[in-house]
């Protein structure tokens, strides 16, 4: 257990704490800006994982019609459905746990940041005594030792304390989480799964919003900025996705079929080799549109997400 704490401290807490301290000094002794910069840094470092996750989810989305077909074909035989599904994943190069990467990375960061914020922003003597031992002595290019105790004021917030408003940050946490989840949702042909997806789509934002009522407001700030970056990355890769019905496209595309119609068509037009005509059409459309830049990509992405 002691080894675990040592590992946790040396691998997660101290590097994060010192990074945050350096950013604090660099960001004009403004902890809010430091947390935003820290979030951008974390998202940059985890960008390869995020991209991998998005690609995996996109591929899974593309496989939905075939999965539905498997379910229909082997209705009632759960073992067979599972076997066939796994075979489909294997053939399509989709890793069932591929989506977990960013989550696995984000969670220790989130919990670590929680501890770091407590240690840096709480300005009780007890907290500062502990902080002095966690600062790296070798960081001399930025005066991190002199920076303590930190100024925790940002906008109307004391970042070491919950939002005094007290609903602005919890609402932003819930809303940004909902938007990001909605964009990354993989539509399921299974009604039961659809129902549980809908439940989780609402439960997690409410859950996080509720928790952020109690959290030091630096943590919701991290979460909101991280979500916004996530939404931005998702948009540039796949477009608005399932969020589309809520946010109309800037350039209408009247010739594109609706999601359900397209899905039905994809199901009907499934080839024996496992790829649909719609998929191929989309890939061709994607190649044609590729050079036209990011403005067109959201539309293409929408198609990709709803096949």
């Amino acid at each position: 257990m002691e080894f675990f704490f040592l590992l946790w401290n040396e691998v997660i807490i101290r590097p994060m704490l010192n990074t945050l301290m350096v950013l604090y000094v660099v960001c004009f002794s403004n902890m809010g800006l430091a947390i935003i910069a820290f979030t951008v840094l974390v998202r940059l470092v985890t960008l390869p994982l995020t991209l991998k996750q998005i690609r995996q989810m996109r591929r899974m989305s593309e496989l939905q019609p075939r999965m539905r077909e498997i379910q229909e074909r082997h209705s009632g035989d759960r073992a067979r459905i599972s076997q066939e599904t796994m075979r489909l994943y294997r053939e399509s190069g989709v890793s069932p746990v591929g989506c977990l990467g960013p989550l696995v990375v984000q969670l220790p960061i989130l919990i670590g940041l929680f501890r770091v914020l407590i240690q840096t922003l709480f300005t009780k003597p007890e907290d500062l005594v502990g902080l002095s031992q966690k600062l790296y002595a070798w960081i001399t290019f930025v005066p991190i030792h002199s920076a303590a105790p930190l100024n925790d004021r940002f906008l109307w917030l004391s970042l070491g304390e919950p939002d005094p408003s007290p609903i602005v940050f919890p609402l932003l946490v819930a809303a940004s989480t909902w938007v990001q989840q909605k964009m990354t949702m993989t539509p399921s042909p299974d009604p039961r799964q659809q129902s549980s997806q809908t439940m989780m789509l609402w439960m997690i934002p409410i859950f996080l919003g509720f928790f952020s009522l109690q959290w030091p407001s630096g943590l919701p700030l991290y979460w909101i900025v991280s979500n916004l970056i996530g939404v931005g990355v998702q948009y540039f890769i796949t477009g608005w996705g399932p969020l589309f019905p809520l946010i109309p496209r800037s350039t209408p595309a009247p010739t594109q079929p609706t999601q359900s119609a397209e899905r039905d068509a994809a199901s009907k037009e499934m080839d024996n080799d496992g790829s649909s005509r719609t998929n191929r059409q989309n890939r061709r459309r994607g190649r044609r549109a590729g050079a036209e830049g990011a403005r067109r990509r959201p539309q293409r992405g929408r198609g990709g997400n709803t096949k």
Partner: protein
Amino acid sequence: MRLISFSRLALLLSAFLAVGAIACTPNLGGDNIGWAPLTVQFSAEPGDPVRVYVASPMSGDLKDLGVRLGEDLGGDEGQVKIRALEDFGSGIPRVAWTYPPLGSGAGLKGVFGSPAVSPSLNLVFVSAVDGYVYAVSTDTGSDATGWKKAVRTDPAKEPQPLISGPALADVIRSDTGPATILLVASEDGNLYAYNAADGVELPWSPFVTGGKIWSTPAVLNSIAYFGSQDRHVYAVDLRNGEELWRFETGGAVVSDPLLFDGMVIVGAFDKKLYALDADDGGLEWEFQGSNWFWAGAVTDGETIFAPSMDGNVYALDSAAASPGEPKEALWRHNMGGPVASTPVLVPLGLVVAAVDGRMRLLSTSPSSLQEGEVISNLPSLEQSEIKSPLAVGAPPVSPGVGSNRTNLSVIQRYSVFVSGDNGVVRRIAVTEGQDKETIWCYDTAKQEPCN
């Protein structure tokens, strides 16, 4: 498919977050019960007990303690109370009084700074995290003959926490003549001055700084010297509240200044120890450590001993370094852990306590050893940390001022008091040629001798 379904991922995320949030949720606003600081009042007459005032939390089995004392202590759980221990020099000390009384369910929330005692006023002063300063009778432990005051400028606002200890100063005031005033520094950035006898605030009070004040003022010739988290060291004339000078350091100043040889010696969070001219605040010299200077420095009249959060105790010559050259330590001793507690000098040497409870007696005589000379290890505190200043067993003597110490017992001259932040107080013998042993140990939180 079910393995990777969105709902499973979401559930996994929820579970992780729930565990993380529950496991890591701090007790916001809690853990602020202080460091159980103590102050010693020496007996005026031989044979009278030494009084030890300590502000410590109520903990342990209060039900059992309540049965033992015949009180219902249910409401006292976690409350910080001031205790007066009477030490007759042998045996276990006895608790003379407790403030607020046991069973009252009241407390001081938390105390970090050492209490101050005025034998002439028969009052002990304690500043607390709840933003109040308490003046309690040394005889009865009651504030009926003393006073209690919220330290703030606006009565409509909650007072800010008081981290530093109160300081007493005898001042010739222009309006009322000689008076003892009480200085209380607050996290609201102000230094407040009260008439110590009745708690009436002085007309010039408060003196305003730009940051929280954790440094207990040192007073000499009606001038208070203290540091602030606005990175400045201040000198304030207590007769009129006028700022005489301020010196800017590179970091927050939370340590208690040492006044020595016309200098103000004070450390800062920029890892430097500064020696300033007490008259004009000019820089005499500075010494570079490798972590914060939190604890105050002490001197034997020749050498300055300054502990640091880097774990070292630095021995420094009081003279300035050669021009253009950094000041070097005569020697340094590493305690193996940070030192936040101001050390004390006893006839045999310097007693230093690290935060982790380790205590050592170091030689103060000039050493050829770069690591200093450890005379002996003292009994360490277990299961407790030491962050409040140590206290000597005999009245301190100002450097260069003679003192008739012949009426002091061996134990008085050769012992130190130390308090762990769990409220365990010990008196430790530091006599020559004998084992350095604990004379007594008393758990003020449980109100019983230590095991």
